[in-house]
Every structure is written in structure tokens, then in C-alpha cells.
Assembly symmetry: C2
Homo-oligomer: 153 residues x 2
DNA sequence: CGTATTTACTTTATATCTAAAATAGTAATC
DNA sequence: GATTACTATTTTAGATATAAAGTAAATACG
């Protein structure tokens, strides 16, 4: 069947494009600021959360990673003084992460450059084309894979 | 500017979709066959190469990973008898990896199911829509990020 | 030829990631 | 209020990635 091949090609292209972009962003972030995409994502989530910060669980959810990963990625940010870790006084099991002044400043710089990189990478596409791309992406269903059965052929 | 935000959203959607799909495929491959996507990719490249196999360098190139990664990902496949490593008699520095009979068999099974999962994940898109998606993806330029300058704003 | 350079791959040190075990605090029940 | 169960996070073990150092074979050059 022809559809099969087209879907497989779509999957390969999707993977290659996103990985290429991710690698480029990561390389640039590291060389400019000494921080990975993973750390940038933490800073971004905390920046949005503002002075209240985020509990570890909420951060895990937003980053779409495991709970262990959150602990590990925040560690160097705390060491470098970009993030402060406190304990929730109302529930002493819970960790709360907040951006420090220094963290805010550095993130603002990072976010500015990052935005420009993405704009440049997407420069060949019009806003309308990006909307189309996003609509098509939204119709791809990872959940279908978990449900997929052999007999569906 | 509005374009900025649309590009950023496109990037976030692209990343979320490809990572979601990748995680789903990886989870399914592991539970069905006990092998990761990384190993599946090695098997796939070797299957295509046939009886001649591939040198480590060629494998590295096709997988788009570092040379060290190739050594490490092939190791368990060799241990499990899916891949055989030999030395090129014409250039004894070079390693040649070939699928074993067992590796071929297992890969054929994996590839069959994998194809169905992808078809299911893309089921909501027509072949024409997938073509459109692929065309749009091809216009995204990771290389632009390496060239991007602050003053380009 | 014999030394120097290059090439092909592996090893090592880090950085993420996951899943699962461990830790510690909270809530629920008798 | 002691025991039990649950919840939030950290720690650990293992997989995969990179970059850079190490090893060994091939090539180049005087």
C-alpha cells in the first residue's frame, strides 16, 4: 500500500527535522550560555510561574519528563545560583523551585536569542504555512501506537 | 511581532509531537521486543545494507549519531546475537557490522509491527496531507540557527 | 625503510533520560 | 496517638548521547 510508505516517510522526516533543530538549538545554547535545552526548559517554566515558583511535581508535568529527571536537571541550576529550592511549609515533602534574580536575568537573555534562532529557522515559512503545519501535527496521534494491534492490518 | 510567536509555537508543537511519537514507539518496541529505538535503527540500517553489512563509520553517518554511540549501541546487539562484528581484511582498523540470521528474522518482525504503529498514528492524515506536512518540514532550516546573529532582529 | 601524520574505531568522563527502590512526610483508621 | 497506607521527592542503576582522549592500523614523506 502506498499510504504505508507515505506515513513512514512522514515519521522519518518529522524525526529528522525535530532532532536537527533540537541539536542546533542545544549546541548554540551551550556555546552561548553554557546551559542545555533541558535547563533552558526548566528556566522557562519557572519564569512563567513567577515569584510563586513551581513544585517539583508541577515542573515534572510541564517538562514532560520523569520525576527523577527534574531533580537532576535542577541540581546544576541550583549550584550555579539560577534557581532556589525551598521546602513548602504547608507540606514539607514538597520541594518548591523559584528563579533567583540572577536566573531571571540570564533567562531573559537566553530567551531573546532563542526566539531569534527559531524565527530564523522558520523564516522560509509564512505564518499561514506555520498554522497549517501545526494543524497537521496536531492530527498525529502518539496514543494510537499504544492501542495499535497487529490485526489492524 | 506576530510571526515570532507563530514560529515559536510551531517549534514547540514540532518538538512535542515528535517526542510523543518517539516515546510511544520506544515504549512499544521495548515491551514487544526488549529493544530500544536506537537498536531498531541499527538493525534497520544493517538490514538495508544486506550481506555486505556496513562499516562503523557508515553506520554512524546513517544513524546521525556520534561514533562512540555506534560502538555502544551495537554492543548489546552483538551480545544478543542479532549482529556480527567482523574486521575488514582490507583495512584492519575498520569494523564491519552485519545482521545475523537471527537478527534478520527479529528485525522483520519488528519492522512489520512498527510500520503498523506508524500507519495508525498517521491515520487521521490523508496521503496528500502527509505530503504537505513533509514539504513544510523540509523548509525548516536547523542550519539557520548556527548562522543566526543577534543583530538579525 | 623509518618516522610522522592521518584515519577508524573504542574508551572514558559527563549529561540526560527512565524505571524502580528508598526516604520522608502526611493522612486515615482504629 | 500508633499503625497503616499514601504521596512527594530523591537516589540508584542502566540506557543512550556527546566530546575528547586513547589505541592501533594505514599512508605519506624524506
Amino acid at each position: 500500500m502506498n499510504d504505508d510508505r507515505e506515513a513512514l516517510r512522514g515519521w522519518l522526516d518529522l524525526l529528522a527535522t525535530s532532532q536537527g533543530l533540537k541539536k542546533a538549538v542545544d549546541t548554540r545554547l551551550r556555546s552561548r550560555f553554557g546551559h542545555s535545552i533541558a535547563r533552558f526548559d526548566v528556566l522557562s517554566a519557572l519564569d512563567r510561574a513567577g515569584v510563586a515558583g513551581l513544585r517539583a511535581g508541577a515542573l515534572t508535568e510541564r517538562l514532560m519528563v520523569s520525576d527523577g529527571a527534574t531533580t537532576q536537571v535542577t541540581a546544576p541550576l541550583i549550584r550555579d545560583g539560577l534557581v532556589k529550592r525551598t521546602v513548602d511549609p504547608d507540606d514539607r515533602r514538597a520541594a518548591i523551585f523559584v528563579l533567583t534574580r540572577k536566573g531571571e536575568k540570564i533567562f531573559a537573555e537566553m530567551a531573546g536569542e532563542h526566539r531569534q534562532w527559531i524565527v530564523d529557522a522558520f523564516a522560509a515559512l509564512s505564518p499561514a504555512q506555520i498554522k497549517t503545519l501545526r494543524r497537521l501535527l496536531s492530527q498525529i496521534s502518539p496514543a494510537a501506537i499504544a492501542r495499535s494491534r497487529k490485526d489492524a492490518a
